[in-house]
């Protein structure tokens, strides 16, 4: 049985990483002069920074903590979420990238609801999309804080400096750092740290790939053999969950990316349309390297537990931290722990910015109220408030990180994909169709979840069909049918011309 070794080195490396994040926040503070700098990084990002910011926003606590946990628990089933990534990036870039950037230029949009309000010429669309974002942000942010607290606990457990730290202390500490550097520099700090975080995630993936391989004399073939001898289906293409679940995940995760506000909003930030030609392959390359961690950590931990070399884990979410505590060299553990924080923080800071924009810019405008006079100051206040609310939500929730992450993804996908991805490419789409599909998507995800919790009814679909995929399918059909069934409305001249380009 492998025993845990104690070392302070990982804690020191992670502390250095936190100091670097705060230093970047302070640097960005000097360069953040107005709301445009705060929300869309002054719209001056190059292709490399945009690509790394895109993939590091996707790689969240869900991917780096929840993902290995899913492979540990279910075998290869969740690889369908990973494998859909390249197709999803192509879809998101082709459907949303150019159009959103053009809208940002023509109408000066600083947030997704603002761009959608301009496209559909409708305040109702602005209000509903801001509501969907605010609700989803809170849940998704809570996921990141919960994952971060879990990783911090694992890190402190390995260190000889701190004897024991509770989940609450870890969550508060993590939230403070996160909100701190985000309040300082807004989107500029967020994307600047994304670059550092993205580089760390790729390095961590490569290190983990070799660290897991080193655990098995026969390399990965031995790990695969161990899993297959215990249960052949776990190593099959559909894992232990079966084909229905896997295919519904594939559809949800391939198309869902086009409705994730933390991903598509990056399209408001880059400098030139022509940069998209480089952004797409760079995002795919960097993202694919980083996602290796999802597979290898999960496979490695499952095989180690089956061989009896590691104690069975208390929860699936412990797969990544447990491997680092038990099996990795201290310096490797330090780099990978820091990368886990990076994955979580890069997504969480994007959400803090989105939530602040929805609360300070979009919801007041949707109700016809004048924007606050000191918008930048209010954005910072909203960021702190959101961080506090999400911390409370995280401490009160007991769900697996992977479940919360999947729920957050489904909510955004069902509520926003038709309005964003199809609406920006089809002139006939109008505000009524957008509102109907957003309301359907929210009701089919958030509404059903609340109803299930309040009434205690089991509303799962048969044969493991993912409920998020069904909600996305329903909102897409509603969007197309309503847009076809009702007469089209004339568009503002600039939007009409823009949709022709």
């Amino acid at each position: 049985m492998i025993a845990a070794t104690s070392s302070a080195l990982p804690l020191v490396l992670v502390a250095l990483y936190f100091v670097a994040c705060l230093a970047i926040g302070l640097w960005a503070l000097r360069r953040t002069r107005d709301a445009r700098d705060y929300f869309v990084a002054g719209r001056r990002l190059g292709p490399w920074v945009t690509a790394v910011a895109l993939f590091s926003s996707v790689m969240s606590g869900f991917a780096f903590v929840g993902g290995p946990g899913l492979v540990y628990r279910d075998g290869l089933s969740s690889m369908w979420m990973v494998v859909s990534g390249i197709l999803g990036t192509c879809l998101s870039t082709a459907l949303v990238g150019k159009r959103l950037r053009l809208l940002a230029e023509v109408r000066g949009a600083l947030s997704l609801p603002e761009a959608l309000a301009a496209r559909y010429d409708s305040e109702a669309v602005r209000g509903l999309s801001a509501l969907a974002i605010a609700a989803g942000v809170l849940a998704y942010l809570a996921t990141q804080i919960a994952a971060m607290a879990l990783v911090l606990q694992g890190l402190l457990a390995q260190s000889s400096l701190v004897a024991e730290a509770g989940a609450t202390t870890c969550a508060v500490l993590a939230t403070a750092v996160l909100v701190g550097y985000c309040v300082l520099g807004g989107a500029l700090a967020s994307v600047a740290t994304d670059l550092l975080q993205g580089a760390m995630m790729m390095a961590a993936s490569a290190l983990v790939f070799f660290a897991v391989r080193a655990q098995f004399e026969g390399g990965y073939a031995e790990a695969f053999r161990t899993i297959a001898e215990d249960d052949a289906a776990a190593l099959g293409p559909f894992g232990t969950q079966g084909a229905v679940t896997c295919l519904s995940w594939f559809f949800l995760f391939a198309l869902g990316g086009s409705g994730q506000p933390h991903i598509v909003t990056k399209n408001l930030m880059f400098r030139r349309i022509a940069d998209l030609r480089r952004i797409l392959p760079l995002t795919i390359l960097t993202g694919t390297i980083a996602t290796l961690l999802w597979l290898v950590l999960g496979v490695g931990m499952r095989a180690l537990v089956l061989q009896g070399r590691v104690e069975p884990l208390a929860t699936a979410d412990r797969a990544a931290p447990a491997f680092l505590e038990l099996c990795a060299e201290p310096w490797v553990a330090g780099v990978v722990f820091a990368a886990l924080f990076a994955a979580i923080m890069s997504t969480a800071d994007a959400f803090l910015n989105l939530g602040a924009a929805a609360l300070v810019r979009d919801l007041p405008r949707a109700f016809g109220w004048a924007p606050p006079r000191h918008e930048l100051r209010w954005a910072r206040v909203a960021t702190v408030a959101l961080g506090g609310a999400a911390l409370g939500f995280a401490l009160g929730s007991r769900e697996l990180v992977a479940f919360l992450g999947s729920f957050g993804w489904s909510t955004f996908a069902a509520a926003l994909v038709p309005t964003v991805a199809i609406g920006l490419n089809w002139k006939r789409a109008h505000a009524t169709a957008a509102c109907a599909s957003m309301a359907t998507g929210l009701a089919a995800t958030f509404g059903v979840e609340i109803a299930q919790r309040l009434c205690g009814v089991d509303l799962r679909l048969p044969h493991g069909f993912d409920r998020g995929a069904a909600a996305l399918l329903l909102s897409l059909l509603v969007f197309l049918v309503v847009a076809r069934a009702t007469p089209p409305r004339p568009l503002p001249r600039d939007i009409d011309m823009l949709l022709e380009l």
């Binding site: 494998v83 969950q241 084909a243 030609r277 795919i284 048969p462 399918l473 059909l477 197309l480």
Partner: protein, 181 residues
């Protein structure tokens, strides 16, 4: 010349309808055989495939319909994004090649796995179906990125669009200056 967006929307709708039909079909089948993984007999948290996976034949047809519908819908949306109101000229071949490669890899995965679900002799110690998933379907998707990059100036951002966009911005600036005056 074929204009993709008008074709893409009916294809998208057909793909979505196929998925909806498959979902209804699945709902009509008895639930008992498959409910996802079941707990491992010895180890907590881990899941194993239920014994009844081998009796999953009744699920094959609706699952295949769902998968095909999903692929058609995804390809149609890609075509909508690639076409964006413009004619597909040189890009059509590359786009079709990418779609065929992805559909081919997905079909190979399906049939190899259905033919021998417990085979272990695939690439890198993986079963053949899993090898097709990780080394076939996954990289094949990158062909769409290749088509996007290769035909970027013809499809996504042609010089004519650049000129029209500059004119649109100039018009906006002119009218905003007049409003200020």
């Amino acid at each position: 010349m074929c204009r993709l967006p008008p074709l893409a929307l009916p294809a998208l709708f057909s793909g979505l309808l196929a998925q909806a039909a498959a979902l209804i079909w699945l709902c009509a089948l008895p639930v008992a055989p498959l409910e996802g993984g079941e707990p491992h007999p010895r180890l907590p948290i881990l899941r194993v495939a239920p014994e009844s996976f081998e009796a999953a034949a009744p699920l094959s047809a609706p699952t295949l319909l769902y998968g095909a519908g999903a692929l058609v819908a995804l390809f149609a949306l890609l075509a909508l994004g690639f076409g964006g109101g413009q004619k597909l000229r040189r890009g059509r071949g590359a786009f079709t090649l990418a779609a065929l490669a992805v559909a081919g890899a997905a079909s190979a995965l399906w049939f190899v796995h259905r033919g021998a679900p417990h085979a272990r002799d695939g690439l890198a110690g993986l079963p053949p179906g899993s090898a097709w998933l990780l080394f076939g379907l996954w990289p094949a998707e990158a062909l769409f990125a290749w088509a996007y990059v290769l035909h970027f100036r013809a499809l996504i951002w042609p010089p004519s669009s650049e000129v029209r966009f500059a004119a649109l911005l100039a018009e906006r600036d002119r009218s905003s200056a007049e409003t200020h005056r």
